[in-house]
């Protein structure tokens, strides 16, 4: 068991920020935490890492109590870049981690090279750009070859090259057996990394996976969308309409059946397109009320 969270409740004064969160991660995977600001993503990560106390619930990380500092030999947390010390160099940070993790000092150099920050590792962090800081944070996080790595919005503000590099490193870590928990607002990047997404809203996990949505979808553009929609509704089949386009799920309405139904009702088909339901689409569905307001 990598993570076992049961009945986690966290209040700040009277406001309940995490409402009875329960989840388990049993095997290495990439899990994305997605939700609007204030939904409780960072709070949950901080609770997992024992950086915030909570009122109720239990957390076990890699079979140990989350308060046990020895978990950090196998767990890393990539946080906000404010945690870095501006007066020290990147190398200072890495060497300190090597000592704290009881790793040979040469590992600092190896990781700096692996992350691609060896050219500026000896410069003071205060002179770093945002991307350089994120690279250092990533280097700090991967230095101990963690079994579990948590990343709080690591892609925000990064240029495309750095984002791709960050994604590749995380995918590489996952391939080596590391469980990655990443919170991000960049849903496109999330889609490229995983379909295990915990959508969070108001301190609750609304949904734990996009696997159900990982079936083929297609969009059919028709001449009479209202008429077409009425045909499917009459047959008790749910179809999503967007302008003159109808969106179908292959497992609910196979494409051939949809074409037949439209032909029978003499509705002209203008265009057919394959479509994957991604994090953004699901997010729009789950947070419809907020988006409309």
């Amino acid at each position: 068991m990598i993570i076992d969270v049961t009945g986690l409740k966290k209040r700040f004064k009277q406001q309940e920020v995490l409402k009875n969160i329960t989840f388990k991660i049993e095997e290495p995977k990439i899990v994305a935490l997605v939700g609007p600001n204030g939904s409780g993503k960072t709070t949950m990560m901080n609770c997992l890492m024992n950086l915030l106390p909570f009122q109720e619930g239990h957390i076990k990380i890699l079979g140990k109590d989350h308060k046990d500092p020895s978990i950090f030999y196998e767990v890393s947390y990539l946080q906000d870049n404010r945690v870095l010390y501006g007066d020290l160099t990147g190398e200072d940070h890495l060497k300190f981690i090597c000592h704290a993790q009881k790793l040979p000092i040469k590992k600092a150099k190896e990781v700096a090279e692996y992350i691609g920050m060896d050219s500026y590792a000896k410069k003071r962090v205060r002179s770093y750009s945002l991307g350089m800081k994120q690279h250092l944070l990533l280097a700090v996080a991967v230095l101990n070859n963690p079994k579990l790595i948590l990343l709080d919005e690591p892609i925000n503000g990064l240029d495309p090259t750095s984002s791709i590099q960050m994604r590749n490193i995380l995918m590489d870590l996952h391939a080596k057996g590391t469980t990655v928990i990443i919170s991000s607002h960049n849903l496109e990047e999330i889609d490229k990394m995983t379909n295990t997404i915990y959508f969070m809203k108001d301190g609750k996990i609304l949904e734990e996976s996009l696997e159900d949505f990982n079936v083929p979808h297609y969009t059919v553009t028709v001449s009479e969308p209202e008429k077409a929609n009425a045909v499917f509704t009459a047959a008790c089949l749910h179809v999503e309409q967007s302008g003159n386009r109808l969106i179908f799920s292959e497992n609910k309405i196979p494409l051939q059946r949809a074409i037949d139904a439209l032909n029978q009702n003499e509705i002209e088909i203008l265009h057919i397109e394959n479509k994957k339901i991604g994090a953004e689409r699901r997010y729009m569905e789950l947070f419809e009320s907020e988006l409309s307001s």
């Binding site: 500092p69 767990v75 946080q79 945690v83 010390y85 200072d92 000592h99």
Partner: protein, 364 residues
């Protein structure tokens, strides 16, 4: 890189540490330059003061002469006249020696003048120079003469020991504490404010080890700054000043006949300050763990130290753990280093540290 090295590097490689060291150097150099520049002026001023005293004494003498002529039975005026005449004669002898290298003769005439004027004042005479000031100068000059030490201009000396005394006086009277608070007072609070403490808390490092390393690194920074300050002082005065002697007397403030030598003063006041620094470090770390706000914890610490010094000082002198917040003043007042306040201060440092340790273990 060990945690202690990491903490120490954070302090020493900070811009604040650099600017503090630059400012400290500028202050030491500036003070020395001021002493050099004003030395002749101060000797001139001394000469002018002697002229003023002479004119005043002459005027008083004329009045007294008339008084005695008018009333030869006025024994009080006759007594005053006798002392004033002696004083005036000493002034006449003293004046040409102001710029002379014959410091023993100069000192002797100053002593004669002061003793005559003290006798004149005790016989009921009036003179603009304050009696306490005269007694203090008299005692100091006698001590210097007895020990065969050439007098130095107070606060304007360029001699190694005297300039070191001047620097020490500034450093041990709250100066060292202020410097430490400026450099490292927010060592813990800034970590909470910037959330960098999370960097340490997400490593397999015990929270107690974090506190130990911060405590030790603050001590090391204090020692480093102290060593730098005194090395710079010694270097400047050795190169551009004169040798002098560390046996030079530092006069007591409560009893003007009590003296300690500069070497004793520097050594004892630094011991007093160092113990107080341990107390201050424990205090600021403890307060930081509760308040987690830099400015507030610094202000509270300073208020506690200064308030404690005056409040405890007025209640109990011998048991005041804050006595060596102003180590120089306390030492000059007492005339020797008191052990009990040091033991209490050191004990409080340990107690506060243990309190901080318990708090740190439970903090998130």
């Amino acid at each position: 890189m060990r945690l202690l090295e990491f903490e120490l590097k954070k302090l020493i490689f900070s811009k604040r540490f650099f600017y503090t060291i630059v400012l400290l150097s500028a202050l030491v150099i500036g003070l020395f330059v001021r002493n050099v520049a004003f030395q002749e002026l101060m000797i001139e001023e001394q000469g002018k003061q002697v002229v003023v005293y002479t004119q005043e004494a002459q005027s008083l003498l004329r009045g007294l002469n008339k008084q005695v002529e008018m009333d030869p039975k006025d024994t009080e005026s006759a007594e005053q006249l006798k002392h004033l005449s002696r004083g005036l004669n000493a002034l006449y002898e003293w004046k040409p020696l102001i710029t002379s290298t014959d410091w023993q003769a100069r000192l002797q005439f100053e002593i004669d003048f002061l003793s005559s004027m003290l006798a004149y004042k005790s016989a009921g005479g009036e003179f603009s120079m304050n009696s306490t000031e005269m007694e203090r100068s008299f005692a100091l000059n006698e001590n210097l003469l007895a020990k065969g030490i050439e007098p130095e201009l107070e606060n304007y000396s360029t001699a190694v020991p005297n300039f070191m005394y001047q620097i020490t006086d500034l450093y041990v009277n709250l100066g060292a504490i202020l410097l430490l608070l400026i450099i490292a007072g927010d060592l813990l609070t800034s970590e909470f404010e910037q959330r960098s403490i999370q960097f340490l808390f997400t490593q397999p490092v015990k929270k107690s080890a974090i506190l130990h390393s911060k405590w030790i690194s603050m001590i090391l920074v204090y020692l480093l700054v102290t060593a730098f300050l005194f090395s710079l002082t010694w270097l400047i005065t050795s190169l551009f000043g004169k040798p002098g002697t560390f046996a030079y007397p530092v006069q007591g403030t409560r009893d003007s006949s009590t003296f300690i030598s500069i070497d004793t003063y520097v050594g004892s006041s630094l011991i007093g300050t160092s113990v107080t620094i341990l107390f201050v470090i424990s205090l600021i770390l403890t307060i930081s763990l509760w308040i987690k706000h830099s400015m507030a914890s610094l202000l509270i610490t300073l208020l506690l130290l200064i308030g404690g010094y005056f409040i405890f000082g007025s209640i109990t002198e011998g048991l005041n753990p804050f006595a060596y917040v102003f180590a120089g003043n306390t030492l000059k007042e007492q005339g020797y280093l008191q052990n009990i306040p040091l033991v209490i201060s050191g004990g409080l440092a340990i107690v506060l540290y243990l309190v901080a340790l318990v708090r740190m273990k439970n903090i998130t």
